[in-house]
Amino acid sequence: MMMVTAANTHASLSLDVIQTILPQLIVAFGIALALILVAWRRSQRTIVLFTAGVLTTALIASVNLLAIQPTVVTQLLKVDSNSAFAFSLVLVVALTSLHMSYQFLKNHIEVHDEYYLLLMLLVLGAGVLVTSHHFASLFLGFELLSISLVGLVGYHRESNYSVESGFKYLVLSASASSFMLLGIAFIYSVTGTMSFDANLPNDIYHQQNLRLFFELGILLFISGIAFKLSIAPFHFWTPDVYQGAPTPVTSLMATVSKIAMFVVLVKCVIAQRYMLHGNLQLLLIVLAIASMLIGNVLALKQSNLKRLIAYSSIAHMGYLLIVVIVISGESLAFTWQSVLFYLSAYVVANISLFLVVASLQTQCLTGDRVVKHYQEEPVLNDLQGLFWRTPSYGLLVILAILSLAGIPLTMGFIGKFYILSQATIAHAWWLIITLIVGSGISLAYYLPIIFKLFEVEPEGGNEVKKLERAVIEKVLVYSFIIIGLVFGVFPDVVSQFIVS
């Protein structure tokens, strides 16, 4: 009987250690302070500014940690440069999304303190996830992310889909987390520990049947994570919830939760290499192939932009899963680099798209004076002639789409190059072929979007929709264009941050 006493190993929370989780702490304290702030003064501007301040501070703190040595914090968390990078990415995205949220909410009469609180909670959840080093923290981060997302998904209560998407997300994520928890419980009952880098009892390797049980646990665990990552066949919720949620929230869902969950998955797999043994590798391969194919096939002929992005995200997670499958001990740094680069590319592309989609939703006819016309469902036709109307937005969409499609000049291509390199080294030919087929299919829905941008704008003088363009928005748009191009052509700029 093995007795592993975890109690002895717990590290004390010294100041040095706390410093490493400073960004997360800043967010957490920010939440607490925000609660007080709300009690003091309820104002949209104030809370937005405050949130932005908190996130920016956290971002600065996080960027400072980029070169950190791996540090374990109380067995639950482990901070290293990769998690710091991932969290910085999360914070950047959250800041962008904050802007979108403000644009979205400022037209509402009510004050939406909860929204910003939930947003910070979401970021905190992501922060916990990327640093988690233990199934308990993983589970908590997971749930923090889910519950705050449930709150955000149905946030726009006037919307037709608010309840539907909220409830769908709640029930599905709850059952997914139940499955995941059951898996963790199974793993725990075999190994007796829930830390990622625990030494496994030898029985697992020697005893075939016990290993099967263990693998069952991991399968259930992975199904939960796969659910969050919307990897086929656990992807069903994705399009519906993406569609139903307000666009800023969708952007968060598409980026923050994907970053966090993927980073934690990679951490888990790297820490517990047994996930890549026979059956489980097969499992991951099946998941990856299914995602790549199903996501791309479903996205075809889709006219609703958000659903389209949702389906494409399924495929992208499938591509990214390849990296996980082919992890080898020798090149962990390269693996991290690939994952983080691909995630950055994916996130930049997605957030750019959502930025445009969100402003398209709030665009108004020039004829109307003040009436804000909020468009519930952005469809492909809204993009018609966008390139001629507002070239910067058009360019941003083009870059984002090309990046998603993995065409050179963009970050997406470098990301794909990373993935292909990894797969090639590992001789994962079937995965490569699926990736190629998937990319081929994906072009059939990516390109029409670009074509749409170039279509002649609809005739008629005051029918022309004008985009309302705040200064920050302009800045964001241009900076994303520049980011997309510069990082696409000179990927070393990003890569040097990821080097661990």
Binding site: E164, S178, A185, F186, T193, D240
Partner: protein
């Protein structure tokens, strides 16, 4: 010395879990779905407690407490959503929630 084999606990847990899952999948009434979710979470708790006892660790119980927290949070949000649903649709029929598809 041994009393209850871990095997039996795990089977019990699985049994409860699948029962809960059946409820989640089969019921049309959203309230029942939430209740079934509780059953599922509870089943997971059983597994954790059992594993914890088998390993003679408190971690299992800690996990159970965390699950409890989750259950509470989930129920709170879930029931609030039910209230909205009731207001909006005047019904708790889950099949009303299928407007988004394709």
């Amino acid at each position: 010395m041994t009393a209850i084999p871990l095997f039996h606990v795990l089977v019990l847990s699985s049994l409860l879990f699948t029962i809960g899952f059946t409820g989640v999948v089969a019921r049309k009434n959203t309230l029942f779905i939430l209740m079934s979710l509780e059953v599922m979470l509870n089943a997971v708790g059983v597994a954790f407690i059992g594993a914890g006892s088998a390993w003679q660790q408190a971690d299992g119980q800690v996990m159970f407490i965390l699950i409890l927290t989750l259950a509470a949070a989930e129920v709170a949000v879930g029931l609030a959503l039910l209230i909205r649903m009731q207001k909006k649709y005047r019904s708790l029929d889950i099949d009303l929630l299928n407007k988004m598809k394709g």
